[in-house]
């Protein structure tokens, strides 16, 4: 290839001229076609985190329950009794925008592999989804196919989808977000790392055959903005086969149980290229691969295509030569294809052979460590980045009209339409199902553990758009709050940072502010980040998405039988508002319906939040409360409505004077902010909470009973029958889809 042709090629592959020169300098010559393809993937944003790595260093990654931190396929925390929970969230945004069914399905498949690649059996999936407003046909199509794709993969492989969230906002119209989180369990001694070890050991590729699907996905799709030619990118979307993965999963765990592997790694973005380079890099060794030994779907694939293919359901492992036969026998029993395709060397080089001929020879450190890291150049925008949303209700809407519009709005309405398409019971662990409690509760009893783990996933892009630092703090707080509702103590957190193009100063500002906020909140709550994912360049023709840091948190609780649901249960129970909740209208769903975005969220007193979480945990664990629910979208009025609807019983509420003085009537009803819990129970249970000290505010709200929710503030403000609220809340989503 001439130098000129190579230059044109490197730009096509997403490398800058500067990066290309650096590659030539590091390897002392011009790279050949295969090497260029490999470098372009290893140095893509997706693999190298070149715009975010410096920033991510500020997140806390140490904690007393931490077993495995960032850098491995998934992080892991100790859940007691010799068990660890491995978990991670990852995005599959651009593939889902191009082909929603396979994009979402392979997003689930990829995150499952990350979890069993560390030796953990996947037990639960959660999803965080963002789409444009439901009034366009494209959004309805994307929602329909993404939900079907998630269900297709998760249901078929038999891992329960236990929770998630879906938001609809105009800035996601062109660039939907599909973040999938998986958690798995392993006996501590089965955890395995991906570092290749032992010069002379055999490198085995097992799982599906390698085809042309997903070629260049990491650089072309994941690391550039979407444009109108999306359809032409379809060949870069991978096709998933959950049946293949189910055998791959069982086979991998059996290989580990029989102690036949020295290391294990899944093939994700950049396929064989990144998996082999990363294994070699972590083990500080070299790897020789012979691509002619890779089983192919199409006979005439070029060596470079084999190296960068993103065909799904493949794993790479390192096996000691005397264990190879036993390992291959396990694969055969599960009808999983397995081929020895290389060896671990002491050269420090990733060498690619096509039979006898060497077709690539690259220094591993150059591939993995030498990609230039860029400093962000953040600048606070001087004018609004996002237009105000379209108003949905008039300026003189009554409280009742506003309330019902909120309750039926797609962001607040029940997500039953979606979660009923997911198997949430398989595995026999699910104690709290979707919409039954703040977080999913999964019993550890059948796994040789005690108690249960709780898991939730949260993120509110609109609030982060209003105020990136405080919005990101709120995301962490809300997730911890959901855990507190079921009595769980947070053990660790995984994040997915979905942002626009970081090379633009205002996006860089959003990103750095949000990471700072997330770090602050994690420190205040003493929750380490165990790993995660960054998805940048989420921009379509209409501009950037809302900055959307998504947080998934795993916690532990001693006794799942104590956990109350979110719904009111008993006539005559007292209702109270617990926590340092300071409702404000900025960034709220109510303001959105009124056609305003708002700016600047109130600063949260993190110490007071941590104290409220601790008090709630204790109260729930005592088993004295009959219900616990956190206040989120739609404020106190919508939280109370959800307690009534879920419990099938009404409530009589008198808004506390403290709240009205603090926020005014409108914000007291519909204002949002972290730190609010609605609880119910016998008078003694509420009194016990109130007696916990000065740090936790407990305000009496009223009593459970009747068939209507009445909220007063001196004079009656809202009075709506529970049946009517249920119809509006459950019908909100389906009515917009038919």
């Amino acid at each position: 290839m001439s130098a000129e042709a190579a230059q044109a090629r490197h730009r096509e592959l997403g490398l800058t001229d500067y990066e290309y020169e650096l590659i030539c300098e590091r390897i002392g010559r011009e790279p050949n076609g295969l090497e260029l393809a490999v470098f372009s993937l290893m140095w893509s944003e997706h693999c190298a985190y070149k715009h975010s790595k410096k920033l991510l260093g500020s997140l806390p990654t140490e904690g007393r329950y931490l077993v495995m931190g960032p850098g491995e396929n998934a992080g892991a925390v100790d859940v007691g009794d010799g068990l660890v929970c491995a978990f991670k969230v990852e995005s599959h945004n651009h593939p889902s925008a191009v082909e929603p069914f396979q994009g979402a399905a392979t997003g689930v498949g990829g995150i499952l592999r990350d979890v069993f690649a560390v030796g953990a059996r996947p037990i639960a999936i959660l999803d965080s989804l963002r789409f444009g407003e439901l009034d366009t046909e494209r959004t309805r199509y994307l929602l329909d196919r993404v939900v079907a794709g998630i269900g297709h993969y998760g249901n078929s492989i038999g891992v329960a989808t236990v929770g998630g969230e879906i938001y609809f906002e105009a800035p996601y119209e062109q660039n939907c977000l599909v973040n999938a989180m998986c958690l798995g369990l392993a006996p501590r001694e089965r955890l395995i790392r991906s570092a290749a070890a032992g010069v002379g050991n055999v490198v085995v590729l097992f799982g599906a055959r390698t085809g042309r699907d997903g070629i260049g996905g990491a650089s072309v799709l994941a690391s550039a903005e979407l444009d109108e030619d999306d359809a032409a990118k379809r060949p870069t979307v991978q096709i998933g086969d959950p049946f293949e993965e189910s055998r791959l999963l069982e086979c991998s765990l059996e290989l580990l149980d029989k102690e036949l592997l020295a290391s294990l790694q899944d093939l994700g973005a950049a396929g064989l290229t990144s998996s082999s380079a990363e294994m070699a890099s972590k083990g500080e060794v070299g790897i020789d691969l012979d691509v002619s030994l890779v089983p192919l779907r199409e006979p005439d694939m070029e060596p470079f295509e084999i190296m960068i293919s993103e065909s799904q359901e493949r794993m790479l492992c390192v096996v000691e030569p005397d264990k190879l036969d036993a390992a291959l026998a396990v694969c055969a029993r599960w009808e999983v294809r397995a081929n020895a395709i290389g060896t671990v060397t002491d050269t420090g080089m990733l060498r690619v052979f096509d039979g006898e001929e060497m077709v690539g020879d690259m220094l591993v450190t150059a591939l993995v460590d030498d990609c230039p890291l860029y400093d962000l150049e953040p600048a606070e925008p001087t004018s609004p980045v996002y237009p105000d949303p379209e108003p949905q209700i008039g300026p003189d809407a009554s409280d009742e009209d506003t309330f019902l519009a909120l309750l039926g709005s797609p962001n607040i309405a029940s997500k039953r339409w979606a979660f009923e398409q997911y198997d949430f019971v398989v595995g026999s662990r699910t104690v709290k199902r979707p919409e039954q409690a703040g977080a999913a509760v999964l019993s550890l009893e059948n796994d040789g553990g005690s108690g249960a783990i709780a898991v939730a996933i949260d993120g509110n892009g609109r609030r982060v758009a209003c105020d990136p630092r405080r919005g990101a703090i709120e995301g962490v707080l809300e997730c911890a709050q959901n855990l507190a509702c079921v009595g769980a103590e947070p053990l660790g957190l995984t994040n997915c940072l979905n942002f626009g193009n970081p090379e633009k100063p205002h996006i860089a500002w959003q990103l750095s502010q949000a990471v700072a906020g997330m770090a602050e909140a994690c420190r205040a709550l003493d929750v380490p980040v165990v790993g995660g994912n960054v998805s940048l360049y989420n921009e379509g023709g209409g501009g950037p998405i809302y900055p959307t840091p998504v947080v998934g948190m795993v916690g532990k609780l001693p006794d799942p039988s104590c956990v109350a649901g979110s719904g009111f249960t008993d006539e005559g129970d007292q209702i109270a508002l617990v926590g340092p909740f300071v409702p404000a209208l900025a960034g709220s769903e109510a303001e959105k319906l009124r056609g305003r975005l708002g700016s600047e969220l109130p600063e949260a007193d993190l110490e007071a939040h941590a104290a409220a979480h601790a008090a709630m945990r204790e109260a729930v664990r005592s088993g004295a409360l009959h219900s616990a629910h956190d206040i989120s979208d739609g404020g106190l009025a919508c939280a109370l409505a959800e307690c009534c609807i879920t419990g099938g019983i009404g409530a009589r509420i008198e808004l506390p004077g403290t709240l009205l003085e603090l926020a005014g009537l409108d914000a007291a009803l519909f204002g949002e902010g972290p730190g609010g819990f609605v609880v119910s129970g016998p008078g003694a249970a509420i009194a016990a909470l109130a007696a916990q000290g000065d740090r936790v505010r407990v305000l009496p709200l009223g009593t459970v009973g009747g068939k209507t929710m009445e909220i007063g503030s001196g004079v009656a403000t809202l009075s709506v029958p529970v049946d009517r609220m249920r119809a509006v809340w459950t019908g909100g989503l389906p009515s917009r889809l038919s």
Partner: protein
């Protein structure tokens, strides 16, 4: 009393079924490629997506070597329970009448449903009372029970409709609200709802345990 739970590639609920069965007797997993049923008193064919449900749900699993042994076992009067995918496999294998079609709305549906027990003289319903309502989760993509009119008439006449969805609980469009059936000899029973996911109050309900208890009863009484 020992249950044998068959594991096919792609099975999802085999461990759940194993744990459920162990609440009522001994139980072990059986491998699809084996043929040995010695020592097994009742067979459970679990839920999931055997062979990926490729071709048609249950269509490939029926050819597994173990299924030949199961057919023999069933012909000899051995109790066989098929749950969800297991029900589909038994229909494909001709051990149960009828077929399971894709749900009417063409979507996977996961929901807690009420069933009424129509027959208590089968191998898996002896511990139920006639007309009893059971709360059990169902979750499937192809659960719409179908049989041609003449066959339906015959099934009703011979009391082979074992479970029906309660009013408002038939979310897949099954003909005559049929949720489960048995063979003429009443030793082979299949149903779409997941009885093995209703054996513990902590995770929902205990009603599904009655099916396992029913199978365990005779041996338990003899012991």
């Amino acid at each position: 009393m020992k249950f044998g739970v068959i594991r096919f590639p792609g099975s999802c609920d085999e461990v759940d079924a194993l744990l459920a069965a162990r609440r009522f007797g001994d139980a072990e997993l059986l491998w699809h490629a084996d043929r040995d049923l010695s020592g097994i008193d009742a067979v459970v064919i679990p839920g999931g997506f055997s062979y990926g449900d490729y071709l048609r749900a249950g269509a490939i699993a029926r050819f597994a070597p173990m299924m030949e042994s199961v057919a023999e076992f069933a012909r000899a009067g051995g109790p066989v329970l098929g749950i969800c995918n297991g029900f589909q496999v038994l229909c494909e294998a001709g051990l149960l009448p009828g077929a399971l079609l894709p749900n009417e709305n063409l979507r996977f549906v996961c929901r807690q449903v009420d069933l009424t027990v129509e027959q208590t003289d089968t191998a898996f319903t002896g511990a139920c009372t006639p007309g009893q309502t059971l709360s059990i989760p169902k979750k499937h993509m192809s659960g719409r029970y179908f049989a041609p009119p003449q066959m339906l008439e015959q099934l009703e006449a011979s009391g082979q409709v074992v479970f029906r969805y309660a009013e408002g609980h038939n979310a897949n469009g099954s003909v005559d609200d049929i949720a489960g059936v048995c063979n003429e000899a009443r030793n082979v029973v299949g149903l779409m709802p997941h009885a093995e996911h209703a054996v513990d109050p902590l995770t929902g309900s205990t009603d599904g345990g009655l099916l396992f208890a029913s199978a365990a009863q005779p041996a338990g009484a003899a012991a």
